[in-house]
Symmetry: D3
Subunit: 74 residues, 6 copies
């Protein structure tokens, strides 16, 4: 009866439909295998978060990606 919520960055980094199907299938199988949970009542919800709305290290992902790119160019 597990509930799994997966948040990832969206926009240009959003997972494809196929990748989402793979995540849903494999997370469900993992919970069946490790915890013997029934797939019929396993929920997996994927949320795609705008890169301006996700911060790590005090900076949005948008800014982090720009800095990483700038560094590669130097």
């Amino acid at each position: 009866m597990p509930y799994v919520n997966i948040k990832v960055t969206g926009g240009s980094e959003a997972p494809t439909v196929e990748q989402k199907q793979e995540l849903i299938r494999e997370v469900t199988q993992l919970l069946a295998r490790v915890l013997n949970k029934n797939p019929a009542t396993t929920f997996v919800i994927i949320e795609e978060v705008d890169m301006d709305n996700w911060g790590v290290g005090g900076e949005s992902t948008t800014v982090r990606r720009q800095k990483a790119k700038a560094q590669q160019l130097t």
Copy 2:
């Protein structure tokens, strides 16, 4: 002071504005009636989840709906 988060499938299955108003009103009344909670500080947040992003039984809702439809046609 309750906080209620309701996730439902969106897209073609998304609730209408009227249905969302009804949900908000009735959930708030329910918490007032059962737990004596103050409506003024009861939050209800409805989230509409893309059918590709919601899995049950190891499959996305998109795939489940397609299978259910195919089965009805046979």
Copy 3:
């Protein structure tokens, strides 16, 4: 296929087992009635939050309750 998460204050304000059963039953019926959702795949998760850990108006619920009580005594 809805997922409902209800957060309420716990500790001395925690709902009883009967109140929780009532909430689960009625929220599930509400979603079936308003949105035609299947109860078999409706999840309701109730979380009881410590009053020190829930803030409104910039103050914890513990402090708010103390102030409300003090005001009643004057």
Copy 4:
């Protein structure tokens, strides 16, 4: 290693990119200062909720804003 999720109303009330950067930076600094948490592993996720989907006092924010506006006109 904190995880912070901030939900605010979106649409015409959505925060700007600059406001979101400020929130991310300041919440991260706050957790470093008060709890000595490492910014490098502090996640801040901002979610913008449609005003039809956020209820307080049994009414959606859309309805509340309309009533507040109507009251100002009288």
Copy 5:
């Protein structure tokens, strides 16, 4: 940079420390393999929910387990 939240029933059904380590390791590897996500910034949070607080089909898990048990005895 994914964030994964896994809710499972707790109490007598709670996962062991080893099962939780396995879940954390495998979910992190899954996100690295399918979406090329960096494990260093992948968060996995497991929440154990009291069986009285988790409802499916309009009934708490406690009640569902009792009914399943009673049915096996007949």
Copy 6:
């Protein structure tokens, strides 16, 4: 009308009552200052997560803390 959910490690790393009051007060002020949000309808919920239940980099925080400690001893 914001809703803020802060998850931090609990157990031996749990914030004190005073630290939680400070977090609640300052996050509420931050949202008032940056986004002009009304403190009266700002919710802050702090959740303390067991170190066995929080994974980063594919390992639980318990394991990470042990490794960090072992490294300091060598």
